[in-house]
Amino acid sequence: MAPRVGTVVAVGVTRHIPAWLVGTALLCCSLAVLAGVLPDDRADALYHSYDGGGVEITGPSLMVLKKLGQNVAVNGNYYVDSISSASIDVVTSGASAYSEDRIEFSGGVDYLHGNSIMSLSFTNSSEDDYEANTAGFGISMDMFGNMTTVSMGYSRGWDMVMNNLDSTFSRDADRQNYKLGLTQVVTKDMLLELNYEGITDEGFLNNPYRSVRYLDPGGDSYSYESEIYPNTRTSNAVAIRSIYYLPYRAAVSGEYRFFDDTWGIDAHNLKFVYTHPLQGGWVLEGNYRYYTQNAADFYSDLFPFQGAQNFLARDKELSTFSSHTIGFKLSYDFIKNGWRSIDKGKINLAWDHILFDYDDFRDLRVVTPAPGDEPLYSFSADVVQLYVSIWF
């Protein structure tokens, strides 16, 4: 986020934007700006399945988007993760495999006014030991003859972290997201999009079950102690992406995102997607994604002794690792010319294969004479999605 001094300056400057400038803008815009369009009504039903690293998660995701009148659209989503986890963390900590369900409801309203769409959204996610609530506001504006779209968003989250092993345990974690986006029509065949998102978290940000390990005084065994995270985190993410229309009717897109945060993590990811329509309403799509991050400042696979630092983490999510994803999606328009009140229908099957490779997180299922010599951990995951979308 902007340094403190800069922020104070910004406030000062804005107070002096003269009223006449704002007034002129109001007058000018009301003469020439044209209206935008709300998205078409649709309903989607998705079945998702993740299988990798000893973790299996499946469930549905159902969404409906419907216009009410000309200027308002409402949407709702119901999502479930049915988790069955015997992940490396679970297995090596001696805990038994566990199952749980996470249920998420979200709802939102879009309001179209002139060339702007204002949105409000709310999400609630609930599982045995974690409750998350998020509320957000966004605005998206078309300008420059609909060549440019600018969007801004703000959302707040209020989470409650609990512990299944201790019913008295309850901590808060709050979140704020700031989003800015710009989409630009570059040519009749190409779009460019820039996105920025700043996120701040405050509160109990770690996992109440997770531990770190440290070397015992003898040097040939290790013990565990609880992880301790800072109680704030601020992150910035900037992404650029572009999509290009190929003359034989296909599309290719590329994206790069850079991420950094106050925990010392830098991450980069790169993604390419190629979409190829075939005869008869079939579309084939392939994607490749590469992700890399370096570890948080307070991360270590093996600390030298107990209580070595103020903050301690051994979560592989905060380690140095990279991942490659290769994915395919096949879609079919099964309703091409409308059927009763349904204009269009599509069925899709997608499969993504993700390879995770850790550089400083070790596989403790392998016991070695000296701690710290265990092989580095890696695993692969298969993500499958089967979904139907209808437009009405």
Binding site: C29, M143, T149, Y291, N348, S389
Partner: protein
């Protein structure tokens, strides 16, 4: 400072929207841009799910989506 500059730019842009800066892609030339395959996020439920898959396993989060492009219809 960055925030302030962004908002001033936005207001300036909206002012120039009224002037005679002609869009270089005419509304009647947007056939390709209106094609569903040119939509970054044409399967929003699937997109949201994959974003969740990655966010749950990576430290990075944010800047995953946007709006715009398309037919530019009114």
């Amino acid at each position: 400072m960055r925030l302030c500059a962004f908002y001033l730019l936005l207001i300036a842009l909206s002012l120039t929207g009224c002037s005679s800066i002609e869009p270089w892609v005419k509304p009647y030339e947007r056939a390709h841009l209106a094609d569903p395959i040119m939509n970054f996020d044409r399967d929003p439920v699937s997109g949201a799910y994959m974003t969740h898959v990655y966010q749950a396993r990576e430290a990075a989060r944010g800047a995953e989506g946007g709006h715009g492009g398309g037919c530019g219809c009114n």
